[in-house]
């Protein structure tokens, strides 16, 4: 049975897609893990980061991705995740290493339009179900049919309070919650954690939440002070202690020039490679604790 991990935060621009890409690469390369990435974000950040913009456009043209899956569902088809998997691990070390691999269910902007249509269709049939509950049930059944192929399933949730994001939370056993230490991002994080802990979604007993500090500026004294307090347990945050720095190397790693462009993980991550390894190990320790 695989471990289901949602990467979620209702605030945009905090590094969800970058974190998902780093975790996929890091877990596959460090542990030889078999990873399935489900891009549930219409912005397709992790699709672009793992495959490149040209590949994202081509997959859209070929009608491969979560948006197409939802559209097909409306016309009476089953949700078939398996048929929409694409190979996303293109680093030479990963191709040469067994059994480590990265597959993904890509996304594209089609998902933005597909979701309201999906809602309209299900409302006609099952009026009482919440959309996020229905989505999570439907996706769970499909994930279960392919999860024996994977050690970890990563779900990159979209920003905002939409049904896809909530469905991702319902599917997961662990939620990695990237956040920067900028004031608005941090307050969104605490509000979101309170929302989950308040148990409105009946999640509190089912998932473990692991905040992850991203875009960390070590030269910013306010951020350094906050990180110190977080590590000292002042805010009861249970955050992953190692922050992901704000680094040009990570921005470059996420700007995928196309298949085969990066030959090695060192070439892809440059001087941020130690941060990739440290973050991967810290997350792996958390998500493997109950498995």
């Amino acid at each position: 049975m695989s471990i289901l991990v949602a990467i979620a935060n209702p605030k945009g621009g905090v590094g969800k897609s970058l974190t998902t890409m780093m975790l996929a690469d890091g877990l596959a390369l460090t542990y030889g893990a078999r990873i399935l990435v489900i891009d549930a974000d219409p912005q397709a950040g992790v699709t672009k980061a793992l495959l490149g913009i040209a590949a994202e456009n081509e997959l859209h043209r070929q009608r491969i991705g979560l948006g197409t899956i939802l559209k097909l569902f409306q016309s009476g088809d089953r949700i078939r995740l398996a048929g929409h998997r694409v190979i996303a691990g293109d680093l030479i070390e990963l191709r040469d290493r067994q059994p480590g691999l990265i597959d993904m269910i890509p996304s594209n902007h089609e998902l933005l339009g597909a979701l309201p249509d999906f809602e309209h269709t299900v409302r006609k049939k099952r009026r009482k179900d919440r959309l996020d509950v229905l989505l999570s049930h439907t996706l769970r059944a499909e994930i279960q049919s392919i999860e024996s192929n994977y050690d970890v399933v990563l779900i990159d949730c979209p920003a905002g309070p939409g049904a896809l994001g909530l469905a991702g939370l319902r599917l997961a056993q662990h939620i990695i919650m990237p956040t920067s230490l900028e004031t608005n991002a941090y307050s969104t994080l605490t509000d979101f954690l309170k929302f989950i802990l308040a148990d409105d979604l009946d999640l509190a007993s089912k998932v473990r939440v692991h905040p992850l500090i991203t875009q960390y500026h070590a030269t910013n004294t306010t951020q350094r002070e906050m990180l110190h307090h977080i590590k000292q347990g002042l805010y009861e945050l249970n955050a992953i202690p190692r922050p992901v720095p704000y680094a040009t190397a990570l921005q470059n790693a996420a700007a995928h020039p196309g298949p085969g462009a990066f030959r090695s993980v060192r070439e892809k991550y440059g001087n941020a490679l130690p941060d990739l390894v440290a973050m991967t190990k810290a997350v792996a320790e958390r998500i493997s604790a109950n498995h």
């Binding site: 307050s187 309170k194 110190h228 307090h229 000292q232 002042l234 805010y235 945050l237």
Partner: protein, 122 residues
């Protein structure tokens, strides 16, 4: 000259740099000590460099907090309040107590608790 050193020598050189930095930089020394959960009382000019009103407010009661900070000069207290953004300039100017330290420490206590309340998850 050879670049090859034993692992012990390499570690010794590394720790020497850390030791020197800790002696020269009290804030760094405090972070090291906090990491291993050791309490050390800093005094003299170093005290203001390592003082962390938010940490102090979280870990002590009002009386202990006041006792810790009342010995600071007015200038140092204002510098701490501004450094940790615990009150506005107007609020600092509005302190009329005699001595001023008393009112500034109270302002710092309120500001530190406001920050804790804002940042705590529960």
């Amino acid at each position: 000259m050879s670049n090859q050193v034993s692992p012990g020598e390499a570690l010794e050189r590394l720790f020497e740099v850390i030791r020197e930095e800790a002696v020269a930089n009290p804030a760094f020394a405090r972070r090291l000590l906090d990491a291993v959960d050791v309490t050390v009382i800093f005094s003299g000019p170093d005290a203001v460099k390592v003082a962390d009103p938010i940490l102090a407010a979280a870990r002590s009661d009002y009386a202990t907090f006041r006792e810790s900070f009342l010995s600071f000069t007015e200038k140092d207290l204002k510098s701490l309040i501004k450094g940790f953004v615990l009150a506005t300039d107007e609020q600092i100017k509005g302190v009329k107590t005699k001595p001023k330290q008393s009112g500034l420490v109270d302002l710092m206590w309120e500001g530190a608790h406001r920050k804790l309340d804002e940042r705590r998850v529960r």
